[in-house]
Amino acid sequence: MKYIKEIVFSILVLFMTLEMFSQSPRFSFYNDSIVLATSKRNNFEVYRGTYTSPEDVINKKHIIGSFSHNTKHTIFKPIVPFQKGNEYTVVFKNEVYPFVIAIDENYDYLQVEVLYPNASVLPANFLKWYIQFSKPVNPSKIYDHIYLINTSDNTKVDRALLPLETPLLSEDGKLLTLWIEPGRQKRDLGPNRELGEVLILNKSYTLIIDKELKDTQGIAMQEKYMHSFKVGNFDRIKPSIISWKIDVPKVNTREALRINFQEYLDYGSLKGALEIVNESGTIIDGDFTINVNQNFALFKPAQDWGKGTYILKCDSIIEDLAGNNLERLFDRDVTVKKIDPILEISFVIQ
């Protein structure tokens, strides 16, 4: 009889423990999933934001995703990953479980790696930059974070850059093409006649990318990016490969062939636009390294150079900084007769 009290107490503790466990389902929260330790097919709902009671979400829509089940777990995968640093709430069996996916301590924040061209003087009819980011950048509303400042009075240049709903990004999402408003850079178009060119001769400007620009995980840059430059003369001369200087490598070596451009060229148009063939027209295997910010390209052959004559073949689309390519000016004067461009240079390895 004396043990009855203790037995009842033990049963009570057991029930309380069971109750406690039943109230504390074991959730694990990850960037791309929520895992609930359960042997049953228990689905739950996930909401954006922190809520203290299930009533708070009555008029809210839960996050779209899919459930899968195995013998030990129920797994929820949202249609897009949870955003790091944002607050979410799981609602399960009339209880709420708020959570945050923390940003790693040593998170690799988005930054600008290279700007092409990074020239300190740009022509008044300059057309486009390429911005190389360290990781894929959030394409949504990207132009809200990029602007041009007139350095002399520190004012923002209105309608300087071309905003596009789908920004022009490379396949890996890391290289952004940024156009100076082309309607203002092309002679005789309405915007050009009324507003003139975006860049005024001899003035100084700064391209700014504010630090609110985010990566594809929704995490902003840590520092803003700035590049200052001065505006030089209009460039209305087609680039010509005749002016290029070639440093010829030694025979029977795999030394790189160096092509010196003598002027800044457009990064995007140059990539993939060069090839080297031998006298019989066979393409020489190897790799090009394009360094437009230092005005040269290197070609490293896969095999040793043999004696003979080689030809550097260029695509006519190679542009200078004002959109003039080997074949035509960006805004071609139709009264001037077209001249076929020179697209090949030969060189001899002795």
């Binding site: 829509k61 959030n138 394409p139 949504s140 789908t166 022009l168 005789d188 993939g272 090839e275 009264t335």
Partner: protein, 365 residues
């Protein structure tokens, strides 16, 4: 006589066979593996064409089995917050890429993109959004990778050239698409026969326009539509740098540099976003949404009677020129499509900063 009767009988027997032939006959069921939704349009038989820049393809999806949505009192005052809730993401991580209406049942579809690169299709129903899965659908598709540039890509090292599809339309058995290149300010326009065949008889066009006669420039087409001008099928295209240009479809031939007839310039720093055609009392109108101008209305008959290209300087009005157009009291319209014969649906950034989906009708015409 016997022969005639026999032919008639055979004809009657075969009629149902041909009547049943459909544009969706060659479609297969499965996952079209869509990379990104960049532009959408509906063709006949509820076929949704999706321009997919990432996978460099045009996908045609049969949407005829989708139930009709309820959109009688169409109004979503803050569509970004709905998307934000459904995807669990900040609104600056999301973007509405395109909105199209299925003319067969007036279902409204919205293509959106998340910063992770994932594109999601939604159906507008009861003033909210329902995700439409594209993982198991009846579809066909065609590769457009050679639009981007194929020449000797491997031998010369990897080209950076990438195509962002800016618009897609269907007309007269052709899927047409325009694209922006990330390395060249030039026009990439392509017309592909539909149903797609293994051997594409498509044409790739580079279109130039002359600005007031003297200077000729290449420019990408931002948005376009097709219509009849003087009873001939024409393309009405708007360039990224504002001119509105018309081309007879018959002149768009493979490899040919086609010069369009500029009929208007639509103002400074203005990017055209969407063009549709509406009718009222026998007159046809072009409605155009713009990034930096109000919704514009242009009478098709004005384009028909506008004889010259803008080859000489014309009298300017408020930074625009050419044919007459009227600004409608709809500003910051980002998406536009025809809902039915009388109504159009639009997505507009309202004065409060919220993105609103609503509809209006042809009383504005």
């Amino acid at each position: 006589m016997k022969k005639i009767l026999f032919t008639m009988a055979l004809g009657l027997l075969l009629t149902p066979l041909f009547a049943n032939s459909s544009l969706t006959d060659g479609f297969i069921t499965g996952n079209p593996e869509i990379g990104t939704i960049n532009a959408m349009t509906f063709g006949p038989e509820s076929i949704l064409f999706i321009g997919d820049s990432k996978a460099a393809q045009i996908v045609a999806v049969d949407m005829s089995t989708a139930p009709k949505a309820t959109n009688e009192k169409l109004n979503i005052p803050d569509i970004e917050s709905v998307l934000s809730e459904l995807l669990g993401a900040d609104s600056d991580q999301l973007q509405i890429i395109d909105m199209v209406v299925n003319p067969a049942n007036q279902n409204i579809y919205i293509g959106s993109q998340h910063s992770s690169g994932k594109s999601i299709l939604f159906l507008v129903n009861n003033n909210t959004l329902e995700m439409v899965s594209l993982e198991s659908v009846s579809y066909t598709k065609t590769d457009i990778s050679n639009v981007i540039s194929e020449e000797a890509k491997d031998r010369r090292g990897r080209s950076l050239r990438n195509l962002a599809i800016s618009d897609v339309r269907y007309a007269d058995g052709k899927v047409m698409l325009s694209g922006l290149s990330n390395t060249e300010f030039a026009s990439t326009f392509r017309s592909i026969s539909f149903p797609f065949t293994k051997k594409q008889d498509d044409s790739t066009l580079e279109i130039y326009h002359a600005a007031h006669g003297r200077y000729e420039t290449a420019s990408p087409i931002k948005t376009f539509t097709t219509t009849l001008i003087n009873n001939e099928p024409h393309l009405i295209a708007s360039y990224t740098c504002t001119p509105l240009v018309v081309f007879p479809l018959s002149e768009l031939k493979s490899g040919k540099h086609t010069k369009g007839r500029t009929v208007a310039e639509l103002g400074n720093a203005n990017t055209p976003l969407d063009i549709i055609e509406m009718e009222k009392e026998g007159s046809r109108y072009i409605l155009m949404a713009n990034s930096n101008r109000a919704l514009m209305k242009i009478k098709v008959s004005d384009i028909e009677s506008f004889g010259d290209s803008l080859s000489t300087k014309v009298v300017e009005r408020a930074g625009t020129s050419g044919i007459d157009f009227i600004n409608l009291p709809f500003v910051n319209v980002q998406q536009l499509d025809k809902l039915n014969g009388e109504e159009f649906v639009y997505i507009q950034r309202s004065a409060s900063g919220k993105l609103r989906l609503g509809k209006s009708n042809n009383r504005w015409l």
